[in-house]
Symmetry: C2
Subunit: 337 residues, 2 copies
DNA sequence: TTGAAAGCGCTAACAA
DNA sequence: TTGTTAGCGCTTTCAA
């Protein structure tokens, strides 16, 4: 049986509360007393029981990060940023992996409620709304990362998709291109909406009226990217550039160009959001020159936790929507990050 | 204030222990009583307090995984396997990120001891020995993943480095090559030793006496790989093939070949262990055909947790050293996984 | 099938 | 500066 605070107290000839004070680096302990207690702790190899402490003090230094997949670079970069920040502030981070599966997500949230974690940072799915409401019912502080869910009054930390899409499209415009297409996923979430809006905004700003025939929306899949771009290639005249809203779509798009013998950027220039490197499985694609918008995944995690801790500390006020800028870069081949 | 089991009991008109029985799906509760309790739980939105339960019952369903970096694909693949297995068995997994920094590792272990986690799966560093002894002192079950530390009597789950090195070298031999060099890291850990041993073994098996001049050992860095291969290229005659023990060394090696205008595999064939994709930052390297040994990261995580749970359940017996086979593949360009 | 009492290991609140 | 008492929310043990 592991020694308890009582054993230490007995050994040091003091009361348990004195030991508690030493452990918690509290004041009002004579140096000599403290030394005796520390010696007893050392002799008994005593390790305080965090659960007991937490139960009594109602203080918990555990946070949770809920992401779709801990094996995807975008999410792990975020997790890394979150972990660093939590660690720096003396908190531990529980990592939860939902696979975007509502059932798994729900079981995790339930688990976190039972653990009485101090707060949750979550990459919500569209089905998360009721779960998040549940958190509010239990007054468990949380922030949303990357994805903003409508109807929920809570802090969000995400990249500025609209500005990113504007910048990507602008790069194509700067090359003198005018017929610029857009390939995106479903408009269900704010991400898709913002990116399409950014594309339109850039065109309008350049005095171009967005052409509905050049806007193709499908699923967030490689297959979809392939099909949508293949459709675009049948147009006469063909688009001169394509702005793409998502990594998987981009991979499909590149495959479609390859299959059609269309070269980027000479025939059609490609500008795309890109989050993940793990899907690249074809070295021919890696050499396609692209304009890429990279999202500050690590910073989203870092600032998300920072905001969460502010909430926990009671820094109230209205919910904030924190937008971080995306970085635009020309890539000769893919650069993995 | 969150409702407690007491509140539920009052509302349902039963004793707290009856509520406890319902929560824990225990027997000896009349269906009608159970229904009343469940109704009360629902009405109060009661969520059991896991810390209180755990404190009293001395049962903890939390495991920990300690890895060098949660943002490196090899470790996250392992984490993913570990998480899946833990989740399937009804356990939660605490993910800890040490950066291979002994101070950080120690703080984490201390943290885990305080939390009274049920067990730890750890990718140990060479400095971990005393920490692991500490775990044994506290009878906290643990398994080592990927790296085997000498002098510690504990379960290990890792890939079969020796067999992997044999297979890589054999592939080069099968191409009819005879002058095969080896580039590896320090021999401090078992990994480096096993890989070098495998290389020697394959050569000896083919009737070739390993030539000390062809064996170059340095650090686990890209820089080291560059330097060692550059040295190899000054030999007359030059080696016809190189077996490399580590990803970073491999990247440096490829740079060296590129700089010297040596083409792989025509001039020199390269066979290498490869764990990470995140370091690839040069598209020219990606196109180099290689023979690659891939380690079953996810399975290491999965089986590690499985073994850990067996330990926790009291499946005693002597410590096992579980070796998983590596997969050897020819890669035309890099395939990211 | 249900309940009362005790206590897991710690800290808050107060007293000395 | 130190100690006493009570109790955090739950489960164990025993009794009914």
């Amino acid at each position: 049986m592991a020694p308890t605070i009582k054993d230490v107290a007995k050994r040091a000839g003091v009361s348990v509360i004195t030991v508690s004070r030493v452990i918690n680096a509290a004041e009002y302990v004579r140096a000599e007393t403290q030394a005796r207690v520390l010696a007893a702790i050392e002799e008994l190899q005593y390790v305080p029981n965090q659960m007991a402490s937490s139960l009594r003090s109602r203080q918990n230094d555990t946070l949770a990060l809920v992401v779709p997949d801990i094996a995807t670079t975008f999410w792990t970069a975020m997790a890394r940023g979150a972990e660093d920040e939590a660690w720096a502030k003396g908190f531990s981070l529980f990592l939860c992996n939902t696979d975007d599966d509502p059932a798994k997500e729900e079981r995790y949230i339930e688990n976190l409620l039972r653990r009485r974690v101090a707060g949750i940072a979550i990459v919500a799915t569209l089905n998360s709304a009721t779960l998040l409401t549940r958190l509010q019912t239990h007054s468990l502080p949380f922030v949303m990362l990357h994805r903003k869910i409508g109807g929920i009054e809570a802090d969000v930390v995400r990249s500025d998709s609209r500005a990113g899409a504007v910048a990507l499209t602008q790069r194509l415009l700067d090359k003198g291109l005018r017929r610029i297409a857009y390939v995106g996923g479903p408009l269900a979430g704010s991400l898709g909406q913002d990116r399409l809006a950014g594309y339109r905004e850039a065109l309008t700003g350049a005095g171009i009226t967005p052409d509905p025939a050049l806007i193709k929306l499908g699923l967030h899949t490689q297959q979809s990217g392939y099909e949508l771009v293949t459709e675009l290639l049948t147009l006469h005249p063909r688009p001169e550039g394509i702005c793409i809203g998502n990594s998987r779509l981009a991979l499909g798009a590149l495959h479609a160009l390859l299959a059609a013998g269309v070269r980027a950027p000479d025939d059609i220039a490609v500008a795309t959001f890109f989050e993940i490197s793990s899907l690249i499985d074809d070295s021919r694609l890696m050499r396609t020159p692209l304009i890429v918008a990279t999202q500050p995944a690590q910073n989203i995690g870092r600032l998300g936790i920072r905001r969460l801790l502010e909430r926990i500390a009671g820094g109230h006020g209205t919910a904030e929507d924190i937008l971080l800028p995306v970085e635009i870069a020309d890539r000769v081949g893919w650069a993995m990050t």
